[in-house]
Symmetry: C2
Subunit: 327 residues, 2 copies
DNA sequence: CAAGATTCTGAAAAGGTTTGCAAACTCGAC
DNA sequence: GTCGAGTTTGCAAACCTTTTCAGAATCTTG
């Protein structure tokens, strides 16, 4: 029933080899045969069978994408970016959601690896050693994480944070708090590092609370602790945490930004929907996804000379959750 | 480099055919050979090449999934469900995001169709005729939409809405508004139909506003119109719209639920994060995804006797955005 | 117009698996 | 010990494509 290369060959009065060549390396066949083949292809609606092609070329034309949790509004943005860029290059993408389970990650990668040419690993939770082990088997690029010389795209928080701290400092804040996410999170370490550097440079005190679970509930739980530090402004590990704090502050009647200013990271859709709308450091999510595909394709193209790193910039979105420091 | 069925055959001292059979139809090979094969497979870490298998069986072991917009927090839930269920049956899933573009949908389906055994179409925006045309080429199941005899899983709003209207009625509401979503949306028509039926039965007046764009901004835009209807409670087409209204009400100083109660549909993550937390009709998102896979697999198994329909129930989540009717 | 160089095309092999068919074996019964 | 039925196994074809290699066609040049 499905139309094969032989059908096209017959229709065009040439051999299967010629059809293959006419499509893959057009300059190898004479112009008029090429035309006849093209017409036959169009007339019959022929599409090469990818399985058969994959069998011989060893390439699948597929990419794998692993994300920790699609329900976390940060990741869909990345997925869309990967998606879109992959499509431009005629790759399809296999998506897998690991449900935040580090143990599941390696297994899924190994599963996927048979069916794809390479894998984009977004914010993997597994250990460095596991990541390294995986890169032996399959071309892999990392998003939002850096381990050794594995190609990665990360976002540099320093620039955006300098803005943010400058913004707060100009509003009179002298003491800001940071509610860290999971210790194991690379992003968390990175954000903390950048925050220390930037606050020190700006002459602003930085205090840290205990690590929060990186979701709404984690923010709710951290809010009271933040108040106790005496800080007049607080950075949450991500928007979810920041919004959790917002909620708790509202419940306790703590004015935002009157008593305390709140800043998040990521700029997820929610951030402009809550009230007060959240000031946040926007991560270039789609761009991260797209860059990941670019790096992966480059890695496949020329495994000897991969692009090792791409660093994107975050930028500050000022909304309503930041204001002058309380006197 | 990769280990093939022949390597296993050699290691186990049997032919390739026997290896194949030992794995696919174990009861066709003698117990001890089966064991030897199994051991060889384990020792060598053999996994059948799916492309080669697909070439001969005509099956890919892949499923396709199309969603209108991953950034809409409703869909990730569905994706997770599809994902999880597919994995249980050893299917991998190709995900494509159509960016709410009805024109892109058909093209994507046709693209995907070569690489998958069947496709789950979630809330497709295309016309009925287009859907029907597609089902000729590829096994397809529909989520949140019904067209003709195409297998579909939908959720029945009536039960949940009876609860919701009962809830409001008990609180003294006599006049409720509905902010409809896009005219072309099947869910919208369905929700409206159910709402009419249920309000009529409960002796509650129903008024409708103009159609809203089904996102936050659409809700913001509809809010004032709702107030003008004199209703003391309002149903938004979905949570996003409802939350948009919440935001606009807050900006105008309209008390929720003091002056007006607000109810959404879907129960997306945001709904419990906004304040007041949103009362909403929860859709079984993951279950919808899982059921979709079940129907698709059944359709593949036995195309002559597909399950035509699966209807799930929504249920009311009462939170803080509903209260006694204003006097 | 012949010879050589070049361009274009076809035959055949290869890629890894499944499966129809036939050969080989096992076992019980006579 | 032989026959037959039933079980277990291997051979070879088939799935569809790409690619190597060599042969055919065309062109160039003397």
């Amino acid at each position: 029933m499905p139309v094969t290369i032989k059908d096209v060959a017959r229709a065009a009065g040439v051999s299967a080899s010629t059809v293959s060549r006419a499509l893959a390396s057009p300059d190898l066949v004479r112009a008029d045969t090429r035309l006849r083949v093209r017409q036959a292809v169009a007339a019959l609606g022929y599409h090469p069978n990818r399985a058969a092609r994959g069998l011989i070329t060893g390439r699948t034309g597929n990419l794998g994408l692993l994300v920790p949790d699609l329900a976390n509004p940060f990741f869909p943005g990345v997925v869309k970016g990967v998606q879109a860029r992959a499509r431009e290059f005629d790759y399809a993408v296999f998506l897998a959601d690991t449900d935040e389970d580090p143990a599941a990650e390696a297994g899924l990668v190994r599963n996927l690896s048979k069916q794809v040419d390479g894998i984009v690993l977004c914010s993997p939770r597994m250990s460095e050693d596991e990541v390294r082990a995986l890169t032996g088997d399959t071309p892999i690029v990392l998003l939002n994480r850096r381990v050794g010389r594995v190609p990665s795209v990360t976002v540099n928080s320093v620039g955006g944070l300098r803005h943010a701290v400058g913004h707060l400092s100009a509003l009179g804040h002298r003491r800001v708090a940071y509610v860290p996410g999971p210790k194991a999170s690379w992003s968390n370490r990175e954000r903390l590092r950048a925050l220390r550097q930037v606050t020190a440079a700006a002459g602003v005190d930085l205090v840290e609370t205990g690590n929060a679970v990186p979701n709404f509930a984690g923010g709710v739980a951290a809010a009271d602790q933040v108040l106790a530090t005496g800080a007049t402004a607080v950075f949450g590990y991500n928007d979810l945490v920041a919004i959790g704090m917002l909620s708790r502050f509202a419940a306790r009647g703590v004015a935002v930004p009157g008593r305390i200013s709140v800043v998040g990271f990521d700029d997820i859709v929610l951030s402009e929907m809550v009230s007060p709308a959240l000031t946040t450091l926007a991560q270039p999510k789609e761009q991260t996804g797209r860059a990941g595909v670019d790096l992966l394709l480059q890695l496949l193209e020329d495994p000897a000379h991969p692009i090792r790193r791409r660093e994107l910039e975050s930028h500050l979105m000022v909304r309503d959750s930041t204001g002058p420091a309380a006197a």
